[in-house]
């Protein structure tokens, strides 16, 4: 198998930037991986169409979402593209504000986006316009929260949907892996384990 080629990745990223110069940011290269930010979230579909059709990124390996709690815009969605012919990767990022919380779907370009977008909707609450079947995928229909958001407590919240499912708070007892949303840096926000505090 041919290894991913950083040179190809770079030149393809440059080609995409040239083709959509007013839609994407500068290329950020880190360890041979190129990332571009799509500046206008309503143009996600257009940029992805160019990447797929003219630059042959025919495979969408992943779509993920990030919650930059406390920042504006709050959310970020990351598309990982790959080309079966040129074996190069490309990462596209787009920021989404909390108010609208909606992005154009790319399911018409890559069918694999279907479940990825459903998962993002389920866990993060970002909606995808044009998605053929935007339902929750892990939690059940009717569950009222989006559990991967940073302001959702790890222990969960009590809910009750008769005949379907209920949830309750898990007893965390202030134990390890408790996150505090909105703190400045990661080590404050997500300490490996809370410091042990003797009782007296």
């Amino acid at each position: 198998m041919t290894q991913p080629n950083p040179k190809t990745a770079r030149s393809l990223a440059e080609a995409l930037q040239k083709a959509c110069s007013d839609l994407v940011s500068e290329i950020v290269e880190f360890r041979g991986e190129c990332s571009l930010t799509i500046l206008d979230k309503s143009k996600v579909h257009e940029v992805c169409q160019v990447a797929r059709d003219t630059l042959h990124f025919d495979m969408l390996t992943d779509v993920s979402s990030v919650d930059h709690y406390g920042d504006d815009p709050r959310f970020e969605v990351v598309y990982e593209l790959y080309g079966m012919e040129h074996h190069a990767y490309l990462r596209l990022k787009v920021r989404v504000e909390e108010e609208s919380c909606e992005l154009p779907s790319v399911t018409s370009l890559w069918r694999t986006a279907d479940w990825h977008e459903r998962e993002i909707y389920d866990m993060m609450g970002i909606r995808f316009s044009g998605h053929p079947d935007l339902r929750r995928i892990l939690m059940w229909e009717g569950y009222p929260y989006f559990p991967l958001r940073k302001d959702f407590p790890l222990e969960g919240k009590p809910t009750d949907l008769p005949e379907t499912a209920f949830t309750d708070r898990a007893p965390l007892e202030g134990g390890p892996f408790v996150t505090t949303a909105g703190k400045q840096n990661v080590s404050q926000r997500e300490p490996r384990a809370k410091a042990f505090e003797p009782e007296d």
């Binding site: 407590p153 969960g156 209920f166 309750d168 898990a170 892996f177």
Partner: protein, 186 residues
């Protein structure tokens, strides 16, 4: 008989081919040696449950090898694995469909307490929705531990279970459906 203890026993020389016992005792003895498990395999613990059922550990030695995938044919639910909230009411429904008398083994940390999943998605112990007779520690418990739990349950079946009183041992209180919304049943 002159001994101070009244012996319920059997002496072929005196009594011939007759056994004196109580109906309770004999029915429980039947039950004990032919528990039909409902394998509620929900996560990694189910692998150990399969090991307990196959040749090396051979749960058939204890009469519990007839794993039934229909709740109506089984009387021992072995909850092996992580019970998520999404699955919880399905587990409860399957338990409700099992005919009395019936028993439950919570196999492993997850089924007993939620295990390492202190999380919004996981039921913190299957005893919040169904009564549990024996808890097995471990993550996962070895098949021997499950066999030990089965033997403990068998001892309970013969010694404690009165006839026609449901399958619940030790006067264990059954949770009512309205107590199911996440409350621990004492």
């Amino acid at each position: 008989m002159t001994s101070s203890q009244t012996e319920v026993g059997y002496n072929t020389k005196i009594e011939g081919d007759v056994i004196v016992t109580k109906v309770d005792a004999v029915l429980n003895w039947f039950r004990k040696n032919s528990l039909w498990p409902m394998p509620m395999g929900l996560a990694c613990c189910a692998i150990e449950l399969m090991a307990a059922g196959s040749s090396r550990f051979d749960i058939a030695r204890f009469g519990a090898e007839v794993m039934r995938f229909s709740p109506r044919q089984s009387d021992l639910m072995i909850v092996a694995g992580t019970v998520t909230y999404k699955m919880a009411l399905a587990v409860r429904r399957i338990y409700d469909q099992m005919a009395e008398p019936k028993w439950v083994i919570a196999m492993g940390a997850c089924a007993s307490t939620g295990g390492m999943y202190r999380s919004y998605a996981v039921l913190q112990g299957v005893d919040r929705i169904i009564p549990v007779n024996v808890y097995v520690a471990g993550c996962p418990p070895r098949p021997e531990a499950l066999l030990d739990a089965l033997m403990k349950l068998q001892n309970n079946v013969v010694s404690k279970q009165p006839l026609f009183q449901g399958g619940i041992l030790n006067n264990h209180k059954r949770p009512q459906p309205d107590a199911m919304a996440g409350q621990r049943v004492s």
